[in-house]
């Protein structure tokens, strides 16, 4: 159990851009820290530097107040779970789990006891003599976990350990890992590109983009108070609707208009984003989370906080309906890294903005229908269109 400190840690590949750019981060003893970001954001590189698998170009990395920059991986007292598990194919489960102990020349009896304990904890006892190829994906994943916990390391490192599992198993393993970490109390650094995993698992989540740390905060704070446009767009599923809008301040009443819509903001929004008052008549980026829409009548908002849109697509999910619509405004950002990784940014329209609204599942919504959506304006977010900084 140990604290980890990144001080201006930088990684620069030969002739390349900085993969990690002066990362400053304190991870507390026993904390579950998640690194999240789109692919290529440097989260894995940061983890690999912590593991000792990558040289640190600049800065200082400490585990337990001890600088480990030049310590080889084996001497850092860390354990790592890889995305593809990286089990030793020629060793049985027992040998896989016990390999680190064997290398450390631990007495056989103690090593065996530790392996047995770890296997027991992970429900692997009956598979101890099998080879990895005779195991299912979930079992292999647990062997990889066992290999990590058997050493009682100072820090656990996990590099997208669940991404090769099917959806159902992933949910189960997610809670297993949370419980395991809580039980062992070991500091954990967990890398994922899946923001749902990040939100559900981490005590705190560090969002990275292009090697730069964007925000590190507890999950709820990331959701409620995103530090910039990127974090706002990245956290939440479906992601936040972002569109360009013009601010009007008229006699203390703040409104925002985009396309043919105009919303009057509840006082709560201005309290959270006082910067809005200085932006009268200028363009800002308005962020509306899909869940902050409701059918008119479902939400207690005034008629000046309602917008009418034509339904392009309605996805009935049971408990809720996702309404897709299009607004006649240029998109707030066409930066590919802000968009879902699965979406081709070239294919997105340049003069229209896609809007997604989550409304109660009791409503039947058909394509082509016009619906009136109430907006919980006190929950909106506002950002500077140039810098992406929140207008707080």
């Amino acid at each position: 159990m140990s604290a980890v400190t990144f001080s201006s840690v930088t990684k620069r590949y030969k002739d390349g851009p900085k993969a990690v750019d002066s990362l400053d981060l304190d991870i507390a003893d026993g904390e579950f820290m998640v690194f999240v970001g789109p692919s290529g954001c440097g989260k894995s590189t940061a983890l690999r530097m912590l593991a000792g698998l990558e040289e640190i170009t600049d800065g200082e990395l400490r585990i337990d107040d001890k600088v480990v920059n030049d310590l080889p991986p084996g001497d850092r007292d860390i354990a790592m779970v890889f995305q593809n598990y990286a089990l030793y194919p020629h060793m049985t489960v027992r040998e896989n789990i016990g390999f680190a102990l064997e290398v450390a020349k631990m007495p056989k009896a103690e090593a065996k006891k530790r392996v047995d304990d770890a296997a027991e904890m992970l429900g692997l006892t009956e598979y101890l003599d099998r080879l990895p190829k005779a195991l299912s994906g979930g079992q292999r994943q647990r062997v990889a976990m066992g290999r990590a916990i058997v050493r009682s390391p100072k820090v656990f490192l996990m590099d997208e350990p669940l991404s090769n599992l099917d959806a159902k198993l992933r949910v189960q393993m997610r809670s297993d890992i949370i419980q395991l970490q809580a039980r062992l109390g070991t500091t954990m650094v967990y890398v994922t590109h899946d923001q749902v995993e990040a939100m559900t698992m981490g005590h705190r989540v560090a969002v990275l983009r292009n090697g730069v740390l964007q925000q590190v905060a507890p999950p709820q704070e990331l959701y409620l108070r995103p530090a910039n446009l990127f974090v706002a767009a990245f956290i939440g599923s479906p992601s936040m609707n972002l569109m360009r809008g013009r601010v009007t301040v008229d006699d203390g009443v703040v409104g925002v208009s985009f396309a043919e819509h105009r919303l009057v903001l509840a006082p709560g929004a201005v309290e959270r984003y006082p910067g809005l008052l200085d932006r009268s008549g200028t363009e800002v980026i308005v962020g509306i989370r899909p869940e902050h829409f409701a059918m008119e009548g479902d939400a207690d908002v005034g008629p000046d906080s309602v917008m009418e849109v034509e339904v392009n697509l309605a996805e009935a999910m049971g408990a809720e309906v996702h309404i897709h619509a299009e607004l006649d405004v240029p998109p707030a950002s066409i930066d590919p890294s802000l968009v879902d990784p699965g979406v081709d940014p070239e294919a997105l329209p340049v003069d229209k903005t896609l809007l997604i609204a989550r409304v109660d599942g009791v409503h039947t919504v058909a394509m082509g229908q016009r619906v009136r959506l109430a907006v919980k304006t006190h929950l909106l977010h506002f950002f500077d269109p140039q810098t992406g900084a929140p207008l707080r």
């Binding site: 991986p73 084996g74 990286a86 290398v103």
Partner: protein, 399 residues
């Protein structure tokens, strides 16, 4: 197993396929069968006509009453039963019938009754004799006087037969001659050659495996300046034909004082660019994460290499060992050049076999016994290594 196509056409295809495969298998196996069978034959048995795949031995009989001691048992044409040669150098006349000169009738000269008539054969005047054949008196002439043998029947009390010895064929039964092997090993010095070859081959194979593993791992995983250029140069040496290297290599051996020494057969061949390439490619195919996991588990480079990489590389090592073994075991030309004093203690299997089977060779059975001895180890090695060729490789530990 997938579902197979059914129906008469599919069956016909399958039968045809198997027939073809069996035919090819027979064609491929036949030389081996002949070699093994010849290696078990007596020398006299090898050139008999019709040839036989089964090694046979001549039966003998011992009968003091008739004065027979370990005498060969013969079968005679046109006579039933077994015979023993009791008297050699019996005068024999070869009579030929006037009306059918193609048939030779071998009899004691006294059997023919001389007449005063003559006949002309091939321009020579020949006296006509009368000879009793199957109770009938026929006119014959005496083509030749020679000596034959008197054969006594061994079964029953029939009359003895006098005939040309070369018409009698020894009575043969199945009987392999395993002494061929011990003879070739002891008398033809093949034992020493076998030991030498094994020694050289083992040393070469072990050396190749060790150097290839170390080199291949370094080229695959350790970053150092000029690594890839060095690797290309090393690999390029594969393209230099060995004949080009013989003279410089010979001079080098001369200066080192290694001529006529087994060391000259081992040291230059312990390094192989091909093997290094093979191991490098295999190591490259092993996921990096496995190595990184071992690094994090605290293993040193050496531990990773011997405990993780080498066990995973077993298929490649088996391939390398097999090729190295075959190459070293069969190498002939370089040993012929460098082991040049004629000292039989430095002989190799290939060299000894070549002298054994040379132009003046008479011991065909021993040559084949030596050949069979020489080809057995490579076959065994191949059979043993074969299962590693098909064994699944490193990827099985992942997802």
């Amino acid at each position: 197993m997938s579902v197979k196509r059914k129906g008469p056409r599919a069956t016909a295809t399958r039968v045809a396929t198997y027939a073809l495969l069996v035919t090819v298998a027979i064609i491929v196996l036949f030389p081996f069968v002949v070699a093994v069978s010849t290696s078990l034959k007596r020398n006299t048995d090898i050139f008999t006509y019709p040839p036989s795949l089964v090694p046979r031995t001549e039966t003998t009989v011992t009968d003091p009453e008739r004065g027979l001691d370990n005498a060969t048992v013969y079968v005679l044409p046109d006579e039933e039963g077994r015979f023993a040669l009791v008297e050699a150098d019996v005068p024999i006349a070869e009579f030929r019938r006037l009306d059918d000169p193609g048939v030779i009738i071998a009899r004691p000269p006294t059997d023919g009754v001389e007449t005063d008539r003559t006949t002309v054969v091939d321009g020579d005047e020949e006296t006509v004799y009368l000879l009793e054949v199957d109770g009938e008196e026929v006119e014959v002439y005496r083509a030749r006087l020679t000596v034959g043998g008197r054969f006594e029947p061994l079964d029953g009390d029939g009359a003895s037969v006098v005939t040309l010895v070369n018409l009698a064929t020894p009575d043969r039964v199945f009987g392999p001659r395993f002494e061929n092997f011990s003879e070739v090993v002891t008398e033809k010095n093949l034992g020493r050659s076998l030991t030498n070859t094994m020694l050289v081959t083992m040393a070469v194979v072990v050396g190749q495996i060790v150097t290839s593993i170390l080199g291949g791992y370094a080229f695959a995983r350790i970053d150092f300046k000029g690594r890839d250029q060095l690797f290309l140069m090393y690999l390029g040496s594969v393209m230099i034909p060995f004949v080009v290297l013989i003279i410089p290599l010979f001079q080098l051996m001369l200066q080192l004082g290694w001529t006529d020494n087994l060391v000259a057969l081992i040291v230059p061949f312990m390094f192989t660019a091909y093997g290094t390439f093979l191991m490098r490619q295999f190591f490259l195919g092993i996921p990096k994460e496995i190595e990184e996991a071992a690094l994090i588990d605290g293993a040193s480079r050496a531990t990773i290499l011997w405990k993780v990489m080498v066990p995973l590389a077993r298929p490649a090592i088996a391939t390398l060992a097999t090729f190295g073994f075959l190459y070293a075991w069969n190498s002939f030309f370089w040993p012929l050049v460098i082991i040049n004093s004629g000292n039989p203690d430095n002989g190799l299997l290939t060299l000894t076999l070549s002298t054994l089977g040379g132009r003046s060779s008479t011991d065909t059975n021993l040559v084949f016994a030596g050949a069979v001895l020489a080809m057995t180890p490579p076959i065994l090695v191949f059979l043993f290594a074969q299962r590693y060729f098909v064994e699944n490789s490193a990827s099985s530990g992942l997802k």
